[in-house]
Structures are given as structure tokens and as C-alpha cells.
Amino acid sequence: MAVVEAPVEHAVSQRRVSGWTVVLAQELRDLWLGGRGLVLCFVFSILVSVIAYLVASSTGFNFLEQRESASLTLQAAITCGGLLALLVAADSVSGERERGTLETMLLTPVPRRQIAVGKLLAALSLWLACFVVAIPYVWLLGRDVGVVDEALVAGFVVGTLLALFLVSVGLVLSVFASSNRISLSVSLFLLLALLAPTQLPSGVEQAWAGELVVNTNPLTAGIHYIGRIVISGHGWSDDVHLLYAPVLAACVSVLVAIFVAGRFMRLRGGVSG
């Protein structure tokens, strides 16, 4: 075996390589070429298929109009896609910590904020893939009533805002969690808690307290916005107040995630030390 040779002059790039792009590229390779992303997308497509089948095919079971079917399928796609992106983000730091690969990354000169940005965007790619998978279903259910374009644009905008919010929350949890299991289970619980107001009876939703909950919770507000566009046929700006919470949540959570990762991404989880 050759002995380690004295270094030849290898050029460290004169053009500054952005750490986050390197991290993002590797995370995308690990997620998609490693197969995990494809498996999650496959699970997602089965879920959306089942939902689309139930809302569209059985007239005995289905009391929904076609607009409602398209909207419901889109909302389910946003929720499931967001969930999968959230879980990938929740695994991104605590998982690496448990697999022992975080330390070598922290030992590189790439600032931790840039590591976080790379991981965050990689997790977001899962939502984008899920959205692409959902397009044919929305087209199939919405083409006869002419809501495909509106549904896809609204779904993409709202879904991306919600996915940004969820992956940022997942990343923050992952930075602080003392184990990967805690990170994943708290993330799942949080998503279910955010979705709980969607089950409020319509009477409660219309009361001022119910309306406040719906409008301030980014998930319910976003889902209601899609409903207004796709089902009620409202214009883009008619219910723009429903976009305040998703936009605010996405912006604030991304900034918080980047700050938290830069400050607290460490070898050990937990809030101390």
C-alpha cells in the first residue's frame, strides 16, 4: 500500500464555493439517488391515489361536487407532502447526529447557517416532487369544471409557503432534539395539532374565536384559501387575508431556523451545553 504522499499543490477554488450549494447538492443526492425520496414519493402517490379514487369514483360514497373533489385532493396533497417534507427536515440534524456524521460536517469551515440552508432546501424538494405527483390527479378531477389552473397555482403557492414553514419547524426541532425519535414524534404531533382546527364544526368556525383560530393558524388559513379559490370561485385577492398567516409563518420560521441552526447546531442535542 502506498504511503500517504506529500501534498501536491491542489488548487482550492479561487472562485468562492458556496457551502450551502455543496450541502444542498449532496443532500439532494442522498435523498433522491439514495432512494429515500423516491420511496416517500411512492407512498405519497398511493395516498393521493386512494383519496382521489374515493372522492371521484364512487357516487354512492361521494357526496362532493367535482370542484370540492379537486380541492379536497389538493388539500390532502399539500398536507401529506408537507408532512413528508417535515419528517425529512426533522431527521436532518438529529438523524446525522445519531448516525455520527454530523461531527465531520461541523468540522468543515462551512458556516452552520449555510449547512442549515442546504438541508432546508433539500427537504423542500420533497414537497416540490409531491406537488408534481399531485398534478395529474388535480387535472383529472378539475378539468371538467375548469379549475385546474387556479387549483394548481393556488396549491403551489400555498403548499410551498406551508412546506417552508413546516421544514423550518422540523429543522429547529431537529437541532434541539436530544434524539431523532423525539424530533420525529414532536414534529408529527405538531402537524396534527395544527391540523386539528380543520375538524371544527362550521358553526364554531364562523364564530369569532373559531375564525381567529382558522385565520392565524397557517395550515387552516392556507387550506381555506385554496377552498375559496377552487370551490367558491373567488378571485386571488378576495381572501388575501387568509394568506397572511402562511406568508408570515414561512418568513419568520425560515429566519428563525437559520438563526437557530447557526447558533445551536451542535454535536449534542438538547437545550443546554
Binding site: 500500500m1 506529500a6 443526492r29 448516525r99
Partner: protein
């Protein structure tokens, strides 16, 4: 200028003081052994010097860079942590290229560096294999290659031979020596294997309960330890009983034992006599045998090894 210089470093976890008044100095091209029992503070010291942990007190420089400039220090160091994990689904060359890119290499340069280092550590033929298929020894060599992607001035190796078979240990240690001698990098080698440290390190630091209890060359540390010396003798087997009796009566000898199943082997502990050196006491003991025409075939002074000094210092503290 020292490659690493640390002074007065303290680190506390809750009520546990992991390091207290830690100091060291390492010159370029030197291999420094960092020794200590479990929980002595070795890994904490390495993590502080590699900027993973912040010291509560004290300061250090690595490659002339002050400890406040963590990113600049990371650019100059290579680290093989004890608990390093490897992404099972990445290929060896992909893993090295990724790390080279994180250190600022362009795509082409990262590929060239990965190729060269894989060649150096004998993994070039397996460059396209998944890391998940690698043995522990291969992973350690890959980890060693990773520590060199940025051509570091200082290399920190935490238990690099842990869990390796003897052949794997030799391979890794050959690389460690080459890193210091051919690259001129300073190497800090943490290890539990004292023979490994004794053979490969120019100087050693012994840590115990967070304190530096000894430092210097192996000879200096052994001398400072004043380790209780025992001597292993091999005499003609037919004379072993008489030799044991003679030694037992000698004032230079504290106790004598015959090794079971190994005819002719005797282990004796030298007596402690104030004002007399161990060498003089040993000479007296040997003279007893020579005067009685006992055939002395070999002699090994056990207290002169680093392991004896290590035990003396870490058990006494």
C-alpha cells in the same frame, strides 16, 4: 511557531470539571500522543482544539490562528473523531469529493484530491463501492483520507486504530507517521494503546481527571513517574529454584515469583532503599545470581515502559 499551543483551558459540564488548566504545545512534523483513562478529558480536549466545543476559560492557537476564529481554524485542521460515522449509501469517492468541496475545492480539484487520497490509503480500487460495504479498517483509512482533503497543518486522530486487527493497525499507523514526516503536519494522536503511542509518538501528554499529569518524551515521562520497577528474568530452568531462593534472601529484592508453566522465568520486585537508585538496586540483585554462577539468559526491566508510567500516574492521582 508551534502548530498547536494551548494554555489554561478549562471546561465544565454541569458540576463535572472535564478539563482544568489544560496546556500543550505541538511543533510541526511532531506526533504527540495524548493518553489517559476513560473520562480523563482527552476527547473534550480534542473537541475544544478542533472548535467543536468552546472552552469556559483559557485560549489556544492552531496553526497560528487564535481560538476565536473557528472557521479559519477548521480550514487548517483535519480531524478523525473517535465516534465518526460514515454515510452507508455514499460511495468512497463521492464522500471524499463532498468533503473536499466543503473545504472550498472546485469540482475538478475535489475529484483530483479524492483520487489521490484514495490511492494513498489503498482504497482506489474500491472508490466506487458503497461505504456500507467497507470493513472497519477500510472505513478508518477512508476517514484518514478525509482528514487530509484540505492539506491540514494539524491532524487530530482520536483512537484511529480502535477495533482494528493488527494488520489494520499497522496500516493506519504507517499513514499517521507519514502524515507527520512527509507532509510536515503536526499530529495529535489519542489512543488507549500505549505500545502504539510509545512507538509512534515523539512526545506524550498524560491526562487524568481533566488534569495534565505528565508531559515530555516517553523517557522523560517514565522517569518522572518513578514507576515501581519489576524485573522479569529468564534463567536456566534447572537453576530456577536456587535462583529464586538466592533472590528471596537478597536485601535488594522485595519479592520473587516463579511464573507458572514457564520454567526458568522469574518475576521480582526490587526493594525500595532510600538514597539508592533503582539501577544500583538492580545491579545488587543481579550480582547475587552471577556470584552464584546462575546462568542468566534474559532480563527485562518492566517498570521502564510507558504503560508502567501511565498506570502509576493515573492510579495514583
Amino acid at each position: 511557531m508551534p502548530a498547536v499551543e494551548a494554555a489554561g483551558i478549562r471546561k465544565q459540564y454541569g458540576s463535572l470539571v472535564a478539563l482544568e488548566a489544560f496546556h500543550l504545545s505541538v511543533e510541526p512534523g511532531e506526533v504527540l500522543g495524548v493518553l489517559g483513562p476513560n473520562g480523563a478529558g482527552k476527547t473534550t480536549a480534542i473537541r475544544i482544539l478542533t472548535t467543536i466545543l468552546q472552552p469556559d476559560r483559557g485560549s489556544f492557537t492552531v496553526a497560528g490562528i487564535q481560538n476565536g476564529r473557528a472557521n479559519a481554524i477548521r480550514q487548517k485542521i483535519g480531524v478523525l473523531p473517535e465516534s465518526a460515522g460514515y454515510p452507508e449509501r455514499q460511495r468512497a469517492e463521492e464522500y471524499l469529493r463532498f468533503h473536499a468541496r466543503l473545504f472550498g475545492h472546485s469540482r475538478a480539484s475535489a475529484r483530483a484530491v479524492a483520487d489521490r487520497l484514495l490511492e494513498d490509503v489503498g482504497l482506489h480500487e474500491r472508490r466506487r463501492s458503497l461505504i456500507g460495504t467497507f470493513s472497519r479498517g477500510m472505513r478508518q483509512r477512508l476517514g484518514l483520507a478525509r482528514t487530509l482533503v484540505n492539506d491540514p497543518s494539524v491532524v487530530f486522530l482520536d483512537e484511529p486504530t480502535l477495533g482494528l486487527d493488527p494488520a489494520g493497525q499497522l496500516q493506519v499507523l504507517r499513514h499517521v507517521r507519514a502524515i507527520a514526516s512527509e507532509r510536515g503536519a503536526a499530529v495529535l494522536l489519542c489512543s488507549h494503546l500505549l505500545a502504539e503511542v510509545e512507538e509512534n509518538c515523539s512526545r506524550v501528554v498524560i491526562l487524568n481527571r481533566g488534569h495534565v499529569v505528565a508531559e515530555g518524551t516517553v523517557a522523560e515521562v517514565v522517569r518522572k513517574a518513578a514507576a515501581p520497577r519489576s524485573v522479569r528474568l529468564h534463567v536456566a530452568p534447572e537453576q530456577a529454584e536456587r535462583a529464586a531462593a538466592l533472590l528471596a534472601d537478597s536485601p535488594a529484592v522485595h519479592s520473587v515469583e516463579r511464573a507458572d508453566g514457564r520454567p526458568g522465568n522469574l518475576t521480582l520486585v526490587l526493594a525500595v532503599r532510600s538514597g539508592e537508585s533503582d539501577d544500583a538496586i538492580l545491579k545488587d540483585a543481579i550480582r547475587v545470581l552471577l556470584d552464584a554462577d546462575v546462568e542468566l539468559r534474559s532480563l527485562e526491566l518492566e517498570g521502564a515502559r510507558l504503560s508502567d508510567a501511565f498506570l502509576a500516574m493515573t492510579e495514583a492521582a
